[in-house]
């Protein structure tokens, strides 16, 4: 048996870690509001819409994965210049890839900002009625800053811990629906017109954003060849979670009530009333557990930014990363506080979703270019990168 050296093995991501990391980057605070936004658009047809969106995302992710498989053991910071540049002039590729990096950076900055703000508003609205949003937000930014200075394979371990906690909580929430939900609330089906379905798909499509972060984490995969298997499992899992959340809240509240609830999934928790439990009214508890989810969700995106900059400047050592992470604090904070109210934030979320389409489009464009120019990462380069 060929034994891998210890250090090399611990610097890579196991399939389970990949699943946890990507799942937590996709599923965040949006899960609480998805049933509302979706049933507003398409009513109970949301079930098909989610499944169909899942399928489309799977196809997109399939091509992205093919791109990643061309460059095993490399993050996008390394392979984008390689795709675009020529072998003679290395600088050319770097200059050509700057617009792409800018696009990725801005996209993640905005996504991060909107997630943090949304979370701050949720907390301030549901639990901390007297605490200013600014305080909640700045604490979250500073805490995720610590996480973002970690190496990607270490942050994956944090993801690994958080995933079961949030997943089990989610299942517990859903159990209420089984007890109180009614199937008749799900009917009637097939009532929406194509235009509504298209809008609904866009809404759910936004809930699936986050999977494209694999262009960073793919640089640390243990086995890029088998990545598609994990990615398929991931999309399957996310789709199931979304469908289950949607069906559960719809069966519990019905089509008309659900549109009036800000956080349908959180309202479900309020149905928990049993003398068996030591505690009463679980929403604060669920939100507290969801803090961990949002924390890693934001931390993963923060890491994307920090890792991108630090790899660009070759300063992957710890002190360098710390300063880069600090650099983002004022920018992120300014962006977080930019929307004046929740309504504006919702508009923001829409634009961020559109931007996600552009980002994914750009990645697919890179794949096409790589195919045409027959670019491929050599494995020698890969091994040197996996241990930064």
């Amino acid at each position: 048996m060929e034994k891998k050296p210890a250090t090399n093995q611990s610097n890579t991501l196991t399939p389970y870690q990949i699943l946890c990391t990507l799942y937590l980057t996709i599923v965040g605070i949006g899960l609480f509001s998805l049933p509302r936004t979706l049933s507003k658009e398409v009513g109970s047809d949301g079930i098909w819409v989610i499944m169909f969106s899942g399928l489309i995302v799977w196809i997109l992710l399939f091509f992205i994965t093919r791109l990643l498989q061309l460059f095993p053991g490399q993050t996008f910071v390394r392979f984008v210049p390689e795709i675009l540049g020529s072998s003679r002039d290395k600088k050319m590729g770097k200059i050509m890839s700057i617009p792409f990096f800018l696009l990725f950076g801005i996209y993640y900055l905005f996504t991060m900002a909107s997630v943090i703000r949304l979370f701050g508003e949720t907390l301030a609205g549901a639990v901390f009625l007297h605490t200013p949003v600014e305080a909640i937000v700045i604490v979250l930014i500073l805490a995720t800053l610590v996480a973002a200075t970690m190496k990607p394979y270490l942050l994956a371990k944090v993801n690994e811990f958080v995933f079961p906690i949030t997943f089990i909580t989610f299942i517990l929430i859903i159990l209420v629906a089984i007890k109180y939900g009614e199937v008749t609330n799900l009917l009637p089906l097939f009532q929406s017109n194509p235009e509504q379905i298209w809008k609904g798909m866009l809404t759910t499509g936004f809930s699936f954003t986050g999977y494209e972060i694999c262009i960073l984490f793919a640089g640390y995969y243990q086995n890029t060849k088998k990545a598609m298997r994990v990615h398929t499992l991931l999309i399957l899992l996310v789709t199931i979670v979304y469908v289950v959340a949607f069906v559960a809240s719809l069966s519990l509240f019905g089509q008309y009530e659900i549109t009036k609830l800000q956080w349908p999934l959180l309202e479900m928790v309020k149905e928990y009333k049993s003398p068996l439990f030591v505690l009463e009214r679980f929403e604060s508890g669920v939100i507290a557990i969801w803090v961990t989810n949002v924390f890693v969700n934001v931390a993963n995106m923060y890491l994307f930014l920090v890792q991108m900059i630090s790899q660009l400047y070759h300063s992957e050592s710890h002190p360098g990363r710390k300063w880069i992470a600090w650099l983002f604090v004022p920018i992120v904070y300014a962006l977080v506080m930019l929307p004046k109210h929740v309504q504006e934030l919702n508009d923001w979320m829409y634009y961020v979703g559109i931007m996600n389409l552009v980002v994914v489009g750009a990645i697919l464009f890179l794949y096409v270019v790589a195919l045409f120019r027959r670019r491929k990462g050599d494995s020698r380069h890969a091994s040197s990168l996996s241990s930064p």
Binding site: M1, F128, V139, V291
Partner: protein, 543 residues
């Protein structure tokens, strides 16, 4: 936060190293001036004078001059420290044969030194040295040195023997089932207990002498062929780097060789139990024993290991698994219960069942402080009680502890200073922290509790969660001699999961934990019909 700590720790170490170096140079210089490479004089008187002046005519230094009866013209002397030698050996097997008329016929021309070395001195360990420094070291270690007039060399006779405490049950790690002997302050006794349990020719014992002045013997134990050589190498390198005047306890070594100085979590385990040491050695770890203390250090250590008791492996697996769950729950209770109380009372009162909340509100009605002050006050007084009950003499200690807690707690509730619920919380927290089988891990939980309480007072459950996340980040980054501290939870490993929260029956634990990278992975021989997961391994073992 964590990063800046790391930097500071490096700086801290560096200044300490510098200081130590200065210390060492000064001491070395002085010693060099006094002894240097001084050879032993041929003249007996000169030798005795030299040693006596060097040790400052110490009162416990015994110099016995005598004539060797074998050849009455020859003067000889033994020098030893009164309290460190086994006197009967000196009297019966060194002095008597030398002074008594020998049965061996006196033959002219036979060398008296050879005679003494080969037949007269009847001790197991003898050594001939020509340097004065060696002789002095030997005296200080409890050996006896023999000088014979006219010979520029000395015989070092192993006569170490001093009063020891004897073998007793380890106080902090007592078990219901399992061996009751604890290791002893005398290194050799401890080593004996380990050897007796591990009759493996592959058990390696490497001796180091650390401490410029104390010259403490530190031994490094590992099983060759199980442990990863890299770990041994790393431990040895770190041991060699230690430059200090004295080592009195394993704690000195622990602080010098641990990975992260600023982490509140222990990165090496310590145990008094020889059976635990053997179990760790068999898992592919390294043990460090220090002369003068019964504790052994185990490296590398992972987080979960601090929540195991040796008894987990002696009792049947159901109870062991159950107890591990109990310990993990008590870990969380000890860590977060006061913080949760604060968060519930001041931020999330709706989570508490209404009836209980009414009762709690009634209890808190007279309390003049916010819950954080109440909690900090109570926690601090419990810590004081705990510390005081250790210092209090013998049987009075626990009594005072109980009386103090009951009386003061009750009085405080009656006076309306604290709420009854707070007393329950503090009591549960204190008891829970004692459920941990390892004292040093329990202490770290005690410490972390306070920042968590402050976070809870500022941000409620949100603060607690963020605090726990930061804790998790810290734990995930920790490494102990190259082994991730959170192994085997992150990265998750299925085969290592057999001995974590659950402890499967011994029958199924056929492999050693893989995160220590043992060279010999298998604990039990392959059973018939066991599925072959790694075909190459079979080829290796059959060849």
């Amino acid at each position: 936060m964590v990063m800046s700590m790391k930097n500071r720790s490096i700086r801290f170490n560096r200044s300490k190293q510098k200081q130590n170096k200065r210390l060492e140079e000064q001491y070395e210089q002085k010693l060099e001036e006094k002894v240097g490479k001084q050879e032993i004089y041929p003249d007996l008187e000169e030798n005795i004078n030299f040693i006596q002046t060097l040790l400052g005519n110490s009162g416990d230094l015994v110099t016995r001059q005598f004539m060797i009866q074998y050849d009455p013209d020859v003067q000889a002397a033994i020098i030893y420290l009164d309290e460190l030698v086994a006197k009967e050996i000196n009297h019966n097997y060194v002095l008597r044969p030398l002074m008594k008329f020998s049965e061996i016929p006196h033959k002219k021309g036979r060398d008296i030194w050879d005679m003494a070395y080969q037949s007269l001195v009847q001790a197991g360990e003898t050594k001939v040295e020509e340097e004065m420094k060696k002789a002095i070291d030997a005296i200080l270690c409890g050996d006896t040195v023999l000088f014979i007039d006219g010979y520029a060399k000395t015989m070092i006779i192993g006569t170490r023997g001093w009063q020891t405490r004897g073998i007793s049950e380890p106080r902090a790690e007592s078990v219901v089932r399992g061996p009751r002997e604890g290791m002893s302050e005398t290194l050799l006794f401890s080593l004996g207990m380990i050897r007796r349990r591990l009759k493996d020719p592959d058990l390696r014992v490497k001796m180091h002498t650390i401490g410029k002045r104390t010259k403490t013997i530190v031994s490094l134990l590992y099983v060759d062929g199980i442990v990863e050589p890299k770990i041994v190498e790393e431990v040895e390198n770190r041991l060699k780097r230690i430059q200090i005047d004295g080592i009195l306890e394993t704690g000195y070594i622990e602080e010098f060789i641990q990975d992260q100085t600023w982490s509140p979590f222990p990165q090496l385990q310590n145990t008094e139990r020889p059976d635990a040491v053997v179990a760790h050695l068999l898992e592919g770890k390294v043990a460090i024993l220090v002369d003068g203390t019964p504790h052994a250090l185990i490296a590398p250590a992972v987080f979960t290991q601090f929540y195991y008791s040796p008894e987990d492996y002696y009792e049947r697996f159901h109870i062991a698994t159950f107890l591990r769950f109990v310990r993990i729950i008590s870990f969380f209770v000890a860590l977060a219960l006061p913080a949760l109380y604060i968060a519930f009372v001041s931020f999330h009162p709706e989570m508490i069942p209404s009836k209980l909340q009414l009762a709690m509100a009634a209890g808190r009605a007279t309390v003049p402080f916010p819950s954080i002050i109440e909690a900090l006050m109570m926690e601090m007084s419990v810590e004081v009680l705990r510390e005081a009950s250790i210092r209090l003499p013998g049987p009075v200690g626990p009594t005072i502890g109980i009386v103090g807690a009951l009386v003061i707690g009750d009085a405080a509730v009656r006076a309306g200073l604290v709420s009854p619920a707070m007393v329950i919380v503090v009591g549960l927290t204190t008891i829970s922290s004692y459920a941990n089988p390892n004292y040093n891990a329990a202490i770290s939980v005690r410490l972390i509790r306070f920042p968590l309480m402050i976070l809870a007072a500022i941000f409620g459950l949100y603060g607690i969660m963020l605090g726990l996340m930061l804790l998790l980040i810290h734990l995930v980054q920790l490494r102990s001699f190259g082994v991730p501290y959170m192994a085997p939870y992150a990265p998750l490993n299925r085969s290592d999961f057999k001995d974590t929260l659950i402890r499967v029956p011994w029958k199924w634990m056929n492999k050693r934990p893989s995160f220590f990278h043992p060279e010999d992975e298998r604990r039990q021989a392959k059973k018939d019909g066991e599925s072959e997961s790694k075909p190459n391994e079979e080829g290796q073992s059959s060849s």
